[in-house]
Symmetry: D2
Subunit: 166 residues, 4 copies
């Protein structure tokens, strides 16, 4: 019985753009369709919530939320809620527990910390529709980031990267 492949989706929360939410729902659905487990930061807002909504359109999907709080609400549709009580320190768990990370849309400071940890720990990292400034900046720090502009490309790149892992 092999361990399940986990794909983490990171992105903005309360401050997400409509476009970020649309991409997140598509991503969540695509990840679930591939049979991968979806992992997010677990809060009921933004990219986290939309990705989970997308995944739950697929029968048999499995979703995990890693919550910063010890007792706050989880995103609707989260099957497995991991409560950390660690605040922002839980961001490293999102990264370490994912076989691959996809940053969805524009980033807030929390997303940036997760991108930083993904770079630090050499995790496969896909940037879906990042800002132009991020596209210029990230290569000054990272060698492991791939920029894509559509969810189809994100899933396709994820498939390649996951094949390489196994």
């Amino acid at each position: 019985l092999p361990q399940r492949i986990i794909v983490g989706v990171i992105g903005s929360g309360e401050d997400a753009r409509d476009e970020d939410l649309r991409l997140a729902a598509e991503l969540g659905e695509g990840i679930a369709r591939e049979g991968w487990v979806l992992l997010t930061g677990g809060r009921p807002v933004g990219v986290m919530q939309s990705a989970i909504h997308g995944a739950k359109r697929i029968a048999g999907s499995l979703t995990i939320g890693i919550l910063p709080s010890s007792d706050g609400p989880a995103a609707g549709g989260t099957d497995i809620v991991i409560r950390t009580g660690l605040g922002e320190a839980r961001n490293i768990i999102n990264v370490l527990s994912s076989d691959l990370l996809i940053a969805c849309g524009r980033w807030n400071a929390g997303t940036l910390s997760e991108v930083a940890f993904a770079i630090k720990t050499s995790k496969p990292l896909i940037l879906l529709d990042p800002s132009p400034e991020a596209i210029l900046f990230v290569p000054t720090i990272a060698r492991n980031a791939i920029v894509v502009s559509s969810t189809d490309d994100a899933i396709e790149q994820a498939r390649c990267l996951i094949e390489k892992l196994s």
Copy 2:
């Protein structure tokens, strides 16, 4: 789609007694048979490994391991591996993420820290076959611990406690 019920099993690792391992396997199987998700500390030894082996005897069981390391091995049969890189600090996550905890057999220092966190966070806590000294000591700190001597009683008590939660 409701969140899954998570039952955490805690206990000794390399230093577990044969009796602790036997109880852990029974517990894991009983937890999975109830349809609950089994959560452990995820390492491939002791009570953690035996509980997961027990759970995987049941078709459709789901097992989660919360690893202290960022890259160490997980117990065989762990479906979802959460990697924390936090060392012993991950013990609080085991506790907060479980709806109910069962301490299985005799404790080592790691188990004791999880028992302490379960008391601190007022989690329902079942002590299966603890030492006589623990039976005397725990009530000086806790009000939420129930002592049982068989896995059947542990599962029965867990069923009651989980009914009260929902």
Copy 3:
């Protein structure tokens, strides 16, 4: 310029007994008089606060508080406030950062988690006036705990243990 010796004092908070507070103040004063840095959990209550008050009676004393919150108040007299935002997970930092730990008076669940971590990480551990039940229980888990009944004995034992470290 050598690293400073750090002695951690752990014990009850809001629920401390008057006797625990008295012992904590004596301990803090004794630690400061030896020229050691006093480390506590940093909150403005119980054994934490009393130990710091005791230490600040000595000119040139240095006190550190490791707070669980990201922005809560620190005990009065804390020179260096370390804010973790980690909740109870910060207890492992109290233990790892101390060269030696003294559990002062009766324990609550938080104290118990720190005692457990001290045992787990093989830190020198002195138990000052623990409960009779704790005296029976601890040896079933630990080999590194010394029981004393007065602050003079605690400081004397600490002196011996610290000499061995260097």
Copy 4:
């Protein structure tokens, strides 16, 4: 007895440029001369080590290192060593425990995570000699970052920001 002002210096480790190290030593010295406590990530390399060396040129300076490991070596000249065992998750502690942060020179992924956390927690943040790409990127995420190009300007800005805090 008021709590001490803590200024955190963050930057590259093994991969720091000579110029980053030179700036770090100047910064550490400047911080100590102001009577502020210097906080770093505590490892004996890069910006962390150089800042501490700089601070220790000043009599009566106080330096704190927040180590990721539970037992690794600390930078020479670190007065107070806080051992976390949390790996990269300790970066949030560096940020939360500092009244003000100065990112010194070019960033690696660890620095980036600390910059992200400083933005997330609205800490006063000074960027000393960041890359041109960082100068373009940071304002897309943060409103609380000030860019300077000399250590004199960094200390001057720090003085203003700290006055506002009190």
